[in-house]
């Protein structure tokens, strides 16, 4: 470390190292082995947000990272504190979210003895972390912290865990060694070979029906702008994954919508018919391919641009594999196009536009429907608004109906599909962006998985607007039972739900009840005007379905509800 701190303890060295990484907030929950760290926090400029459950703090760090692009940091004590983080770590891992997870651990002398509150958290999280450290020498803290942040945010981002034994944090007169990183085995891909770019340009000029399939990697790479340039310059239609929403503004004429199970008809038909699929920052998830690598985009030459070579060729056969950074490679393609005349794919666009006209996303506007609530929120908010969702039907309706204009405005759990993500993630998003409006769309099932975080929201007066789409059931599961199990409803009734308004009020949060269509807009406007947090309880029918839908394991052509 540049600065010599005399009499430094492991804890103070850690906090200084975090400061040097630009950390301004830690979401955490204390415990026995962390006492010296919590003591040192009192004298640190780093803000600590006390969650009400470790699952809350890890999702908050995740939400913080998604909307800010910075590394989220969370902290939990050894044993149960650490194991309570596991779901959140897996969630961040599957969605490639940069995060540093700090866990307390029993003293080094007791490691491996089944000591009080000992859990082998580096072992438990091995398959769900990008890397993990167990610190055995306090002098190594600066190097480890530096490496952890570098690993978390570069290449394919992901959670990195640092396990900190009690005696390491309490160590006194720590002499730190140099903080130079030792990561000689780690490489970050960048640009593509010119040869590869020429292959793409050639494929483009040979193509009559090209399409860009863009995902979360475009957002990670901050490549939305250059993607738009490419699309406009070459007249290329774009479809996105759930994770890629915002890559192109929702009103952009070149956008075909979301692809996959609950994607738009146009986007899915386009994949089915295209002759060139330019996949960028996507991982051909089975919610998109139905797990059917062999029936997906069968007419197409597939270009796959991804920073993680292990994703290329994993789920589908790729014709032009490109291991590189989405922004750099897209820039190379745009540069390569300069001067050359690209066909504007008139016939293809005619076909796409006719699908767009024939198969718009539809819903009933005469009743209080979830879609109309989302549409109204869309009208009353603006392009800077941050939208967080939980998992279920409401999540899909938001993906379909909220007008996202930019990247990093949607935080949603895609890969793990973690119910309970929403409320704490919204809390983290609001802390990352204190001046922006944060709206949470949540189901009554999901909300109850991490509802304790209402206390954190109230305590910190975080003005999150909670839009509860309350259907009294586990809607998404019910929909599958309705469609694929002959309406044999099993364990989806949430009878016993609390009075959510009273519950919000018990936490000191304003509650607004909405039972009819007429109240929708005024109640949303009122919530937005209110300076603090608000919970809006929209009572909707359990019969609403998310459509269209490609049944699980079925091909695009078997889509229901077109």
């Amino acid at each position: 470390m540049s600065e010599e701190i005399t009499g430094a303890t492991g804890a103070t060295v850690l906090l200084k190292a975090l400061e040097q990484e630009g950390v301004d907030v830690i979401f955490g929950y204390p415990g026995g082995v962390l006492l010296s760290l919590y003591d040192a926090l009192l004298d640190s400029p780093i803000r600590h947000i006390l969650g009400r459950h470790e699952q809350g703090v890890v999702h908050a760090a995740d939400g913080y990272a998604r909307v800010s692009g910075k590394v989220g940091v969370c902290l939990a004590t050894s044993g149960p504190g650490a194991t309570n983080l596991v779901t959140g770590i897996a969630n961040a891992y599957l969605d490639s979210i940069p995060m540093v997870v700090l866990t307390g651990q029993v003293p080094t002398s007791l490691l491996g003895t089944d000591a009080f509150q000992e859990a082998d958290i580096t072992g438990i999280t091995m398959p769900i972390t990008k890397h993990a450290y167990l610190v055995k020498d306090a002098s190594e803290i600066p190097r480890i912290v530096k490496e952890a942040f570098y690993l978390a945010r570069t290449g394919r981002p992901g959670p990195v865990l640092i396990d900190l034994p009690k005696d390491i944090l309490a160590a006194e007169d720590v002499e730190t060694t140099s903080s130079g990183m030792k990561l000689s085995g780690y490489q970050v891909p960048g640009r593509a070979d010119d040869e590869k770019i020429n292959e793409i340009l050639k494929a483009l000029s040979d193509s009559q029906k090209p399409v860009i399939y863009a995902g979360g990697g475009v957002i990670t790479a901050e490549a939305g702008e250059v993607l738009k340039q490419l699309s406009e310059k070459a007249g290329l239609p774009v479809l996105t994954t759930l994770m890629g929403i915002g890559c192109l503004p929702s009103d952009h004429p070149n956008l075909l919508g979301m692809v996959g199970m609950h994607g738009s008809v146009t986007a899915n038909y386009a994949v089915d018919e295209c002759d060139l699929l330019i996949a960028v920052g996507v991982r051909f998830d089975d919610r998109v391919t139905s797990g059917l690598g062999h029936t997906f985009a069968t007419n197409a030459k597939i270009v796959h641009i991804d920073i993680d070579p292990a994703e290329i060729g994993k789920a589908v056969k790729t014709h032009i594999p490109i291991n590189g950074d989405a922004r750099l490679v897209l820039e190379q393609i745009v540069d390569g196009l300069a001067g050359s005349s690209v066909p504007q794919f008139t016939d293809w666009w005619e076909r796409l536009n006719s699908w767009k006209a024939t198969y718009p996303l539809r819903f009933d506007r005469d009743r209080l429907t979830p879609q109309s609530v989302i549409e109204a929120v869309g009208e009353l908010t603006n392009e800077d608004t941050i939208v967080v969702t939980d998992v279920g039907q409401h999540q899909m309706w938001v993906a379909q109906f909220y007008p996202f204009m930019h990247t990093r405005k949607l935080a949603t759990s895609g890969g793990l599909g973690t119910m309970g993500f929403g409320l704490p993630a919204a809390m983290g998003a609001q802390i990352a962006c204190p001046d922006d409006l944060v709206i949470l769309f949540v189901g009554d099932g999901s909300l109850q998985m991490t509802i304790q975080e209402l206390a954190t929201i109230a305590h910190n007066n975080l003005p999150v607007k909670i839009v509860l789409l309350n259907n009294g059931v586990l809607g998404m599961v019910r929909q599958w039972q309705k469609m694929f199990f002959n309406k044999r409803y099993s364990s989806i009734d949430l009878e016993g739900n609390p009075d959510f308004i009273k519950l919000a009020e018990a936490y000191g949060i304003r509650g607004i009840q909405v039972d009819s269509n007429e109240q929708v807009k005024s109640s949303i406007a009122e919530a937005i005007k209110h300076p603090g947090p608000v919970l809006l309880n929209f009572v909707i029918s359990p019969e609403e379905d998310v459509l269209p839908m490609i049944p699980p394991g079925k091909a695009i052509t078997e889509m229901l509800g077109r």
């Binding site: 990008k130 890397h131 690993l151 000689s184 085995g185 993680d308 070579p309 292990a310 060729g313």
Partner: protein, 159 residues
């Protein structure tokens, strides 16, 4: 088809667990695995023999390479290499068979490293085929115990 991969990995506790975990989770078939320190004490070399078609092997290599503690992964299959295994074989012998067995050991250039009244222990190095052939030859006399290491391999030097 069996592929021989050579991975240079950091010599830390936990690296083996990460590699083994990766193979288990993604259901890759390890035929054998051997690990030891290299000429550089900070690095270990893993020689992994794994079964799979080209696409699976490509995935294995990429997934291994993704681990931060893994420096390089090479597929030695089809390359000009020297590969060896070590076997320790305990063979049952009687006064009638002893000399025949010793002859076989000699043919395979094995070494007798221990001897009991009714068995002898042979050390043998060689590639997989040689060791298999030896084991098959002495089997009729009575194979009491067999221990063999995984394969290790090194590229031949370029002339």
């Amino acid at each position: 088809m069996l592929h021989t991969l050579a991975a240079l990995v950091e010599n830390h506790p936990g690296v083996l667990a990460r590699v083994a975990g990766l193979f288990a989770r993604r259901a890759y078939n390890i035929d054998s695995l051997s690990v030891c320190q290299t000429e550089n004490p900070e690095l270990s070399r893993m020689t992994i023999v794994v079964d799979g078609d080209d696409q699976i092997i490509e995935q294995v290599r990429n997934q291994l390479n993704k681990l931060v503690a893994v420096h390089t992964v090479m597929d030695l299959t089809g390359k000009s290499i020297v590969d060896r295994q070590l076997a320790l074989v305990r063979v049952k012998v009687s006064t009638e068979t002893r000399s025949e067995v010793l002859q076989i050991v000699d043919v395979f250039r094995g070494r007798v490293v221990d001897m009991g009244t009714c068995n002898l222990t042979v050390e043998l190095t060689g590639d997989t085929e040689k060791i298999d052939a030896f084991v098959n030859s002495i089997r009729p006399y009575g194979l009491a115990e067999l221990v063999r290491t995984g394969r290790i391999a090194i590229m031949r030097s370029e002339a």
